[in-house]
Symmetry: C2
Subunit: 212 residues, 2 copies
C-alpha cells in the first residue's frame, strides 16, 4: 500500500481487508467511499460495529443468536407459537435466516456453528453436537413430549462436510429412538438437468417421490 | 431481513449494505464473521472507522488527501524531491495510489474528485477543475517556473466520462500555453489483439510510436 496515504486511511484499509471476501482493492474502494460520505454516516457505521455484540449471547437452548437467555424462536416455541417437537439442525445462524424466509418451517432450530472438517481441524467437540444430543435426550426424559414424536431434520449443507456432519449426528441420534430426516437433495427450482452434476442427478433420482 | 435477528445485528447489516459493492447477502456474511470474531477485533474495526476522518483534509494544492495543509507528495515537491513542473490530473485519490505504485512517475498530481457526467448531474463546478486552472495560472505568473516548462498530463479514465473530462480540461488549458499530454490508450500488457474492442484497437493504432 502506498505509504503516502495518511495513517487513519491505511489502518481502515487494513481492517477492511481482514474481512472475508474483501480484498485490498475493495477495501480501498470502501474507504474512499467513506471518505466522501458525510461524517455522520461514518460515525453511524462505527457505532453499529462497536455495538454489535452488546447484549448479545447465544440461545441456551438452540445456540442461535439471542438478546436474552433464549432466542425469539425458542421463546415462541415455549409460548406454543411454534412446534417444539421439530428440531432443524443447521450449520450457521444464516441458515436459520434463510429457512425463516421461506415461512414454511414452524419448528425450532439447533445451530451447530460449523460442520465437521478434519482439514480445518474442526471435530465434533468444536461444534454444538453434544448440546444437541443432550437436548434430544431431555425430550425423551420429559413426560410432555414422547420421544417417538420428536423429529430431527438434518439441514446441514449438501456438500462433503455437511454430509459427513449429518451422518455423524445421525449415528449419535440412532440409539435415542427419534425420527431423523434429511432435507431433500436434488435439482434446484429453475435448474437445468443438462447442466446438473452427476452427484446432484444421482441424489435427485434417489430422492424421487410419488408424483402428485 | 428476518425480524427475529437482534436489533444490533440488523443495524450493522443495514449499515454494511449501504456500502458500495456490498449486497445484503455479503453484509450478512460480514456481520456473522464479526459475531464469531474476538471482541477486541470488532472494537478495532469500530475505532478505525470512527477515526477515519480525524485530522484528515484535502491538500490545498492538489486536492489529494492529506494530514496537514499539504499532502506528502506536494510537500516532497516543495523540498525538491519531486518535479513540481509535471502535474498529473486524475479523477480519484485511488488513481494517485495506482500511479504511485508504478514508481515511474516523479511529478505531482491534481485530483478532480470525479469526472464530467451530465447523467449523474456532475458538471465542471462539482469537480476541482477551476482549482487546476488557477494552479496552472499561478505557475505562469511566478518567475520560478516558466509556463512553457509545465506539463499537464491528463490521466482521467479512458472511458466516455473520462475522455470528455480530459477534452474539457484541455480546452480550458489551451490559452494558458502549457504542454498538455494524455496518457496512452492501447492494448493492456498481456492483452489479446483478437479480444480487444474496436475502439481500443483504433486508439492503439492512432497512438503507435516508433519501434525501439
Amino acid at each position: 500500500m502506498s505509504s503516502f496515504l495518511p495513517q487513519s486511511i491505511r489502518a481502515l484499509i487494513d481492517e477492511f481487508s481482514r474481512l472475508p471476501g474483501v480484498g485490498p482493492k475493495s477495501a480501498q474502494r470502501l474507504v474512499m467511499h467513506l471518505l466522501h460520505a458525510p461524517d455522520s454516516r461514518v460515525q453511524e457505521l462505527s457505532k453499529a460495529v462497536g455495538g454489535l455484540k452488546a447484549g448479545l449471547q447465544f440461545c441456551s437452548v438452540c445456540w442461535n443468536i439471542a438478546e436474552e437467555e433464549k432466542c425469539q424462536i425458542c421463546l415462541n416455541a415455549e409460548m406454543g407459537l411454534r412446534q417444539a417437537k421439530q428440531i432443524c439442525v443447521v450449520e450457521e445462524i444464516l441458515d436459520v435466516v434463510a429457512l425463516e424466509k421461506t415461512s414454511e418451517y414452524k419448528g425450532v432450530y439447533h445451530v451447530l456453528h460449523g460442520a465437521l472438517s478434519p482439514v480445518d481441524g474442526i471435530g465434533p467437540e468444536q461444534l454444538k453436537i453434544q448440546a444437541l444430543i443432550e437436548r434430544v435426550k431431555g425430550f425423551s426424559d420429559s413426560d410432555e413430549v414422547g420421544a417417538i414424536d420428536l423429529e430431527v431434520i438434518l439441514a446441514t449443507n449438501p456438500g462433503l462436510e455437511g454430509e459427513s456432519t449429518a451422518l455423524y449426528v445421525m449415528k449419535l441420534l440412532g440409539p435415542l429412538n427419534v425420527n431423523v430426516t434429511r432435507i431433500a437433495r436434488g435439482l434446484p427450482v429453475g435448474g437445468d438437468l443438462d447442466y446438473a452434476d452427476e452427484l446432484t442427478l444421482t441424489r435427485a433420482l434417489q430422492g424421487r417421490a410419488a408424483y402428485q
